[in-house]
Subunit: 323 residues, 2 copies
DNA sequence: GGCTAGCATCGAATCGATTCGATCGAAACG
DNA sequence: CGTTTCGATCGAATCGATTCGATGCTAGCC
């Protein structure tokens, strides 16, 4: 009938239903009881006017919350290439989704200061600095840091990097290995912890080099550096994906795993393209994600900071054997 | 000095700087010129009061935009297990991020009606129905559908499924193959197009079965059904990840690729854990992501619907050979 | 019958900015 | 010198809801 008339608001609905704005609001939100008849009338008026529910922007302003939680993951392209990151993300999303919160991806080059975030999850992915951090602190946005360095005021979720790494090292030591090398991730807090665990058993373990958690990256790293520093009977990696790359590259060069070289991973994710089961340190990825999400919910609800450290478990597979 | 006083607002800053609220606003937004001296004064007052910039929730209400774009991907855990999805996501995020927009993950079980979204990308991932769709339409949220069925009012981004699939089929036909089977994705619009392309060349090609784009899923599918329906000299898959699973499973059973069986994929992503290059249909994943993001920007800016169909290209690798 | 409870509803304040139109001075111009 | 123009600033309206406190009305109780 009419031209491009503006979208109806709750006030229009209230007027059309013959009730006050506040009653109409209550009919939608259910925050206080409204008689069934009134609710009917309001909803009918809404349908007739083509009103599709309260404007979330307005509600957000009034309530001071946006319902959106950011998750900083460094570079998107590399962060999710590892199934371990996905497993955790999945659990985070599940818990937050059930609470009605959305999850917003933040890659660290972007300018996110203008977005309204109720909290931010900082999943370090190999970086210790992050441009937006100070800004978030200034804006009083609750922060939950996963496997990062502890920061004052932020909740801290972690796993037993050092103990897990040491348990794996002891396993190798018991097998008779003495010349052990590591493929590491780029410098970061968890990386240092893991190296410390390795050195608890092998004080002068060598570092072959650092690379991302990526099959191809590990392959080319090993290809470049395997012969560099004398004989090595075992290589420990910082992810199963890296370990898979090392196994594949070793085989390509005629080195048998585990007969000639033992290889170990970290995480405990499935590697279906590898025909042997990796020896690895299994971390509870889903638990980590859930703990992270629950920490977020707690912080949003105003609870204090409660850190979590989750246990890991050595799983001996077929990729390690006697020296 | 004082107790838990409420966070300062722009009005406080304006008062402290001795300017009007509107001038203070302009000093931050720069939407109209403000003298340098005034801006200095406002910013100084802000610093002193610990004001961390205009509240995004308030700005959002006023401007009617949230700066957040949703992306629906079905199940998170399965959607991003394929590097093709990640490559596209990466490009989307890059373009949207540059425009100051955030990307919010929507898994299809969640209730996202309460979130303020400026637009939604619908990356089908094998599903044709999606609970929130009607709601989004009712709320007039611009929709961009990637590889989905066309829906009135939504922008449509696609690739040449049928032509690409047919080109691959012709390649196999030229190699002498006559008994060809397909591993498919679950029923969906692109899946049907691709089957049509296959049947343009092999009218009675068989479907071994459908599974997700996942190495392990393809392996077990092939393990169950390879012998089911007589001899097959070539298997076409709907993703390189699936194809990798088929290659690995074939080898496990002593079937050589490509000597005994030709295997083809789709997408053109890297499969570093496979020691042979797959024959595949390469799609421009980054272009697809960019086109999607640009469509979103256009729709948010109020532009009309402009669909995009991107070309694909056959890449002959080492996984296909003479029948 | 008078008094108290309790439920449904309403009016008004509020969330924190952006932005339109008006005003005021000073510079530019003839 | 009078007038026009333009830039800087201000006041007030606005975005669209939620929510607090007050009011009216009905029912229950002694």
């Amino acid at each position: 009938m009419s031209g491009p008339t503006r979208a109806p608001t709750l006030a229009d609905v209230a007027a059309s239903a013959g009730v006050s704005l506040s009653t109409a609001s209550l009919a939608f939100s259910g925050n206080k009881p409204v008689s069934a008849a009134t609710r009917e009338r309001v909803l009918a008026a809404a349908t007739e006017l083509g009103y599709s529910g309260p404007n979330p922007l307005a509600r957000n302003l009034r309530q001071g919350r946006s319902g959106v939680v950011g998750i900083a993951v460094g570079q998107l392209s590399t962060a999710f290439r590892d199934p371990a990151a996905l497993a955790m993300l999945d659990a985070v999303s599940e818990v937050l989704g059930a609470a009605g919160l959305g999850l917003l991806l933040m890659s660290d080059d972007d300018e996110h200061a203008r977005l309204p975030l109720d909290a931010v999850i900082y999943d370090i992915c190999g970086r210790e600095t992050w441009a937006a951090y100070d800004d978030l602190v200034a804006r009083d946005v609750p922060l939950v840091v996963v496997e990062g360095p502890e920061w004052p005021g932020s909740t801290y979720i972690d796993i037993e990097h050092r103990a897990g790494s040491a348990a794996l090292a002891e396993h190798l030591h018991a097998l008779g290995h003495r010349d052990v090398a590591a493929v590491t991730l780029v410098a970061s807090h968890p990386q240092r912890e893991r190296e410390a665990g390795l050195r608890d058993v092998f004080p002068d373990a060598r570092v072959l080099g650092a690379c991302e958690s990526d099959v191809a990256a590990a392959q080319s790293l090993v290809a470049r550096h395997l012969g560099d520093r004398g004989p090595v009977s075992a290589i420990v990696c910082q992810s199963d994906v890296q370990a898979a790359g090392v196994v594949l590259e070793a085989r390509r060069r005629g080195i048998r795993v585990p007969e000639d070289l033992s290889v170990a991973g970290f995480d405990g994710v499935a590697t279906p393209w590898l025909d042997l089961e990796l020896t690895t340190v299994v971390q509870p990825l889903a638990d980590k994600g859930r703990a992270t999400a629950e920490a977020v919910l707690g912080r949003i609800a105003g609870a204090g900071v409660t850190d979590v450290v989750l246990p890991v478990e050595l799983r001996v597979g077929e990729s390690t054997g006697p020296a």
